[in-house]
């Protein structure tokens, strides 16, 4: 019924899709699989009309379909449940589900009575227990996700796209969802199902399309695939026999700098313990949204810790704000340069010296000469490509901007440096230089905790990798156990920790 051929999509320099393809037929549930950044979500967004592809062809019933907006997509009978949800938090459940599709009566009035009935039936069908007049923002994330799916189904589509909807759902909700999906499949809907949970693929999907770095690697019926096959197609490497022993409790030489025990930060982090030693680079891996940013921000004092403890250099750490963290010699580099780290309109020099300035006393006098010397030294040492020190920071390339931010913190010589996905959208060359800088620093005794969405980067740079899954640590990789396939398996929640403790 639907065929996507040779779809290309570039976001500036980043290639999201190159020649990707996807087929879908009525009465079939197709799994769309791939690791982070492989282009699954982009494919879904192309079909939903949120992303316009640079090239390629979409055929519906053999005819060329032009999808330029959400309206076009709906008209073609395509309904989408988005991973990041498309609900309006300040509107009621009823208004949200019927948005753009309200039943009307004479005079253009919205038919409230009919709307109420439709909603009641829909909520019953999905076993959603909530007040139809409640504002969506007052509902739990899992209820919101169920509503997102219910909203898509309520459009009576020919084709249903589900983008990682089960990530926020609980076991019983998933069972309800699967029951409905089976009914819809029997009615002849074409369903595309994006997920990271392998168990679900084998439970409900008929066929699978696996993507890797923007390309479609294979189309196959699910019964013909094994878990090993899927991991192989996703990573390009055959998984070896799973490592026998867990390295969870490997003793490490050296002085403990950070000791986190059973940290909980609501609603994303659920009991994480982590240790980092002096001069070590600790990597944090995992799929998107498994609690990595919240964990790092909790170390920084930007998120409120619910329970658990953080020891820093042998003392209990209780931070009220990032400013406290800076005082304790903790540095932080965010992946979101624009929002959290840089002053794009100020000069390169001001950007480099900002941290030093913040650390000193308010009234402390700094000579222009000393500031310039300080900035020059940083630029030379970290090989930042700039025009002039007085150029605005926005004139630098993305990679150099990020080096600038890192340089600012390193110049303050913190004991612990936290980096949250620092190389997102940074080119390979700058990335390598950033790695080199970090290595230099740890050689001088700094401790680095880095989270990254890029597996290669993690394997490359980290001494040990903590893999997060649903707000807990699913595996810790180090030494020989630091392999791509084990990392991917742990990201899917199939880590040593989970196997040992049994699945939730």
């Amino acid at each position: 019924m639907l065929e996507m051929r040779a779809i290309d999509k570039r976001f500036d320099a980043v290639v999201a899709l190159k020649g990707a393809r996807l087929n879908s037929s009525p009465g079939e549930i197709r799994a769309l699989l791939g690791s982070n950044g492989s282009g699954k979500s982009t494919m879904i967004k192309v079909l939903a009309g949120l992303v316009a592809p640079n090239g390629g062809l979409i055929l519906l019933d053999g005819k060329r379909a032009a999808i330029h907006s959400g309206v076009d997509s709906r008209k073609l009978g395509i309904a989408t449940a988005f991973q990041d949800l498309s609900l309006i938090p300040t509107m009621s459940v009823t208004e949200n589900i019927l948005l753009g599709n309200e039943p009307l009566r004479a005079g253009g009035f919205v038919d409230k009575k009919k709307a109420r009935q439709t909603i009641r039936e829909l909520l019953d069908r999905f076993h959603i227990d909530c007040d139809p007049e409640a504002y969506v923002q007052t509902l739990t994330p899992s209820t919101q996700t169920m509503l997102e799916v219910a909203k898509a189904v309520s459009l009576n589509p020919r084709m249903l796209l589900l983008d990682e909807v089960t990530a926020a759902l609980h076991y019983d909700e998933i069972q309800v969802l699967f029951q409905i999906l089976r009914e819809l499949k029997a009615q002849g809907l074409a369903i595309v199902y994006v997920t990271h949970r392998m168990k679900e693929v084998f439970e409900i999907c008929d066929t699978a399309t696996i993507m890797r770095s923007g390309e479609t690697v294979i189309d196959a019926p699910v019964p013909e695939l094994t878990l090993d096959d899927i991991v192989y197609y996703m990573t390009g490497q055959r998984p070896e026999v799973a490592a026998s022993a867990s390295e969870m409790d490997v003793a490490q030489e050296g002085e403990t700098v950070v000791d986190v025990r059973d940290l909980e930060v609501y609603p994303k982090v659920w009991g994480i313990s982590l240790k980092a030693y002096k001069g070590e680079i600790v990597g944090i891996g995992g799929l998107q949204g498994q609690g990595q940013p919240e964990f790092i921000r909790a170390l920084l004092g930007a998120e409120k810790v619910a329970t658990g403890s953080i020891d820093f250099c042998g003392r209990k750490l209780s931070l009220k704000s990032p400013a406290d963290a800076v005082r304790m010699e903790i540095g932080f580099v965010s992946g979101e340069r624009g929002r959290e780290a840089m002053f794009p309109l100020r000069t390169v020099q001001e950007n480099i010296t900002a941290g030093k300035v913040a650390k000193g006393n308010v009234g402390e006098y700094m000579t222009p000469k000393s500031l310039r010397a300080f900035a020059n030294q940083a630029v030379d040492k970290y090989n930042i490509k700039i025009g002039e020190l007085r150029d605005p920071a926005s004139s630098l390339s993305g990679g150099n901007q990020q080096k600038l931010v890192i340089a600012r913190w390193i110049a303050m010589n913190p004991v612990l440096l936290l980096l949250d996905d620092p190389t997102r959208g940074v080119d390979v060359h700058s990335r390598r230089e950033i790695h080199k800088i970090l290595r230099q620093c740890t050689d001088e005794g700094m401790t680095v905790i880095i989270s990254s969405s890029d597996n290669e980067e993690l394997l490359d740079i980290s001494d040990r990798i903590y893999v997060f899954y649903e707000g807990s640590v699913s595996d810790v990789l180090s030494g020989e156990g630091k392999t791509a396939d084990r990392l991917v398996a742990a990201m899917m929640g199939m880590g040593a920790a989970n196997q040992k403790g049994g699945d939730q």
Binding site: V71, T90, M91
Partner: protein, 352 residues
């Protein structure tokens, strides 16, 4: 009965218009106390108060429509003056009838609104800056059309507007009722829900098959209509033309909306705007009266209008502070509720 009343009250407390209503009720009380209920609620005085403040109230309604759809226009004040000068001048120079001139006046307000829509929704300029710049452009147009205050309105039009029907109901209030009816209808159409969706989150609205620019276009048209009505009412109040009047309506209408409980984008209701606007009007009224009374009680006491504005603005500022406190309380209750239910579910899932 009392239980249902209680339930109704707790429902109303959660309503975004609650804070605005409290302020509104407070100023009614304040006026009644300092002027004496018999005097304040007297037909003549109330009539004058309503027909003079109606233009502002209509402008607040216009601004509310825009705020709900996630945008704003602070040039509404000079647009009211634009309606006034277009109406008066087309009547005076071209010899048009008053009714026809009013139609042209409303048309001018809608055209001005479309220009603002073009800048804000199509060219995506920041709404505050774009409409601020537009203020000066429209003021220029106003002065070009009418250089100095002049003109008059036929008696048979402004007299009925300023009168009270059967000496009971101010006739001018019909204009407000008309505007509220228009809004009540719009709110119950698809456009009514789309306004909220676009205001709260344009991207999600787009994903749901709504065209945000189109919804904002409709919102600007509706706002143009309300501003047009306000302009006509102002013309009937002053019964003459003045190119530089009502300029502060723009920023004051924004303040009224915020005090009433509207926030930028998709939160609140028209009632918020109406209560907020009424609060502003009644505050000013009470302060003016008090200063007049002081002048009578203390011989030789005089205070410039600056002092009056100073006092009334302080009261308005306090009102604004109060809305922040209530909004914070609402948010906090929401957060705790949500956190508890999430924790409960997660703990159940983890078997803790």
């Amino acid at each position: 009965m009392s239980q249902r009343l209680q339930q109704g009250f707790s429902q109303f407390r959660k309503n975004p218009a609650f804070a605005g209503f409290v302020l509104f009720a407070f100023t009614i009380l304040l006026n009644a106390v300092i002027q004496g209920p018999g005097s304040f609620f007297g037909v003549r005085r109330l009539n004058t108060l309503i027909y003079t403040s109606l233009p502002f109230l209509l402008v607040v309604m216009a601004q509310s429509v825009l705020l709900l759809s996630g945008t704003m226009d602070i040039s509404v004040g000079v647009q009211v003056a634009l309606v006034n000068v277009v109406t008066i001048m087309t009547m005076q120079e071209w010899g048009l009838s008053f009714i026809l001139a009013c139609g042209l006046g409303i048309g001018a307000a809608i055209i001005a609104s479309l220009v603002c829509w073009l800048l804000v929704s199509v060219l995506r300029l920041p709404a505050l800056l774009a409409s601020f710049a537009l203020t000066y452009a429209i003021r220029g147009v106003n002065v070009l059309i009418m250089s100095v205050a002049q003109g008059k309105v036929p008696r048979e039009f402004y007299r009925p507007y300023q009168s009270a029907i059967f000496d009971m109901v101010p006739a001018s209030i019909l204009a407000l009722v008309l505007a509220l009816l228009v809004w009540a209808y719009v709110r119950r159409t698809r456009f009514g829900t789309n306004i909220y969706a676009v205001g709260a989150n344009p991207r999600n609205a787009f994903a749901a098959g709504i065209n945000p620019a189109k919804v904002q276009l409709q919102a600007f048209m509706l706002k143009g209509l309300f501003v047009g009505m306000a302009g006509i009412c102002l013309t009937l109040v002053t019964a003459s033309g003045n190119p530089t009047q009502a300029e502060d309506y723009g920023i004051r209408s924004l303040a009224a909306c915020i005090i009433g409980g509207l926030s930028f984008g998709g939160w609140g209701s028209m009632a918020c705007g109406v209560f907020g606007g009424s609060f502003l009007i009644l505050t000013q009224n009470a302060v003016e009266f008090s200063f007049r009374r002081l002048g009578v009680l203390i011989p030789g006491f005089t205070a410039s209008t600056y002092w009056q504005n100073f006092v009334s603005d302080i009261i308005i500022f306090l009102g604004l502070l109060m809305t922040m406190v209530t909004a914070k309380g609402q948010r906090e209750a929401l957060r705790i509720n949500l956190q508890n239910s999430v924790m409960f579910k997660r703990r159940a899932a983890h078997g803790k």
